[in-house]
């Protein structure tokens, strides 16, 4: 589920950090910029793994900072399609099950991807697998699931066409209303995917990176059923 990704970037070191060793200063800046952030089509960046190349520090007109071209590798969370992961059930709804992994919480198992004889009991807000016995999928239980689909949603501002005030300039900031309003211009497929995700979440903001998972074969579902 974890990979190494190779990046190259121009890193800016402020004069106040010149007292640090170059590698330390670069490491700090890279972590500030990338740790716990989603990069489109790469995954959720966790932290710096190693620095491969460090260029010369260049200074620009009107700015005392050093700009250093750096090649480095990051530890990234990006499970492959079909990978089996373990998480905890964070909530159940009629539409499916939301799963969290602590550092990554945007995982949704839609009801179509659950065992065939699964039913939702509204009174207990839980899914039940009617196999030989009634097996309950309760919140906070450890659950095993298979990754079926990954969805990246670009969070960058949408340009002048959008008349609504757009507060989401960074990859992490989210503006639910604006995102929902702007989807009309998007492809219908993208909208459908987002709908699928929103069904599972209580808030309407679309996460930059999310996973659709399944729980359909023997061995999947709560870990306590099988071990």
């Amino acid at each position: 589920m974890f990979i190494l990704s190779k990046f190259s970037d121009l890193i800016r070191i402020e004069p106040s950090k010149f007292s640090k060793k170059t590698e330390d200063a670069l490491e700090d800046e890279i972590n500030v910029k990338f740790a716990n952030k989603v990069v489109q089509d790469v995954g959720l960046c966790l932290c710096l793994y190693d620095i491969l190349e460090v260029g010369d520090g260049l200074i620009r007109h009107g700015d005392g900072s050093a700009y250093i071209k750096t090649v480095f590798r990051l530890v990234v969370f990006r499970p492959f399609i079909g990978e089996v992961l373990v998480g905890w059930v964070s909530s159940c709804s009629e539409e499916g099950i939301k799963v969290r992994m602590g550092f990554f919480d945007d995982i949704f198992i839609p009801k179509e991807y659950l065992f065939e004889s699964c039913i939702f009991i509204p009174r207990e807000q839980a899914w039940v697998w009617r196999d030989e016995h009634d097996l309950y999928i309760d919140t906070n239980e450890r659950i095993r699931f298979r990754v079926e689909q990954e969805i990246f949603t670009d969070q960058s501002p949408r340009g002048p066409k959008n008349t609504e005030p757009e507060g989401a300039s960074s990859a992490v900031a989210q503006n639910g209303g604006a995102a929902a309003g702007a989807t009309s211009t998007d492809a219908a497929a993208a909208e459908q995917q987002q709908q699928l995700l929103q069904n599972g979440s209580s808030h309407t903001a679309v996460p930059p990176y999310s996973l659709i998972a399944s729980c359909q074969t023997y061995g999947m579902g709560l870990a306590t059923w099988w071990d």
Binding site: M1, F2, I3, L4, S5, K6, F7, S8, D9, K20, D24, E27, D28, N31, V32, A35, N36, K37, V39, D41, V42, G43, L46, C47, Y49, V71, R73, V75, R78, F80, G82, E83, V84, V86, M101, G102, F103, H133, D134, L135, Y136, R142, R144, R146, T217, Y218, G219, M220, A223, T224, W225, W226, D227
Partner: protein, 140 residues
């Protein structure tokens, strides 16, 4: 910023845990010497804590008890079976304790391996990968 190679290498949970432990150790060292501010940023701290919770001992994660020597021996011994790289990686990450869990990590298991071979794999896992003991069964 440019992503040169999106998927350069695969990492096992154990390697990630080792790496974050490494970072924490260096943070401690640098806070002991007077460069206190080094390596401290909020987003890094958050993700390190969350990762540690997921991979650490409390979460019944196998990675917390594994060590490089055992994983190496495991890889050598498991190589008698023709497993894909991704399958071996998942076996190390999840360290299954039952056949049914092992089956779902290996594609088309029934056509490729027998039950006996599966039991042997489980033995190797038990011996080298230190699967977390299954938590006491909560009555279904």
């Amino acid at each position: 910023m440019k992503a040169e190679v999106a998927r350069d290498k695969l990492l096992s949970n154990f390697e990630v845990l080792q790496h974050i432990n490494d970072i924490k150790r260096r943070q401690k060292q640098s806070s002991a010497s007077r460069h206190r501010s080094a390596l401290k940023t909020e987003n890094l701290e958050t993700i390190l804590l969350e990762l540690h919770t997921y991979l650490g001992e409390k979460a019944h994660s196998a990675a917390a008890k594994q060590n490089p020597a055992d994983i190496k021996t495991f890889m050598q011994e498991i190589s008698v079976y023709d497993l894909e790289k991704a399958e071996k990686l998942q076996i190390i990450n999840i360290a299954p304790t039952s056949l049914v869990t092992l089956y779902c990590l290996i594609e088309e298991y029934e056509q490729r391996f027998t039950e006996e071979q599966g039991n042997h794999m489980l033995e190797l896992i038990q011996k080298y990968l230190h699967p977390a003991p299954p938590p006491p069964t909560a009555g279904a």
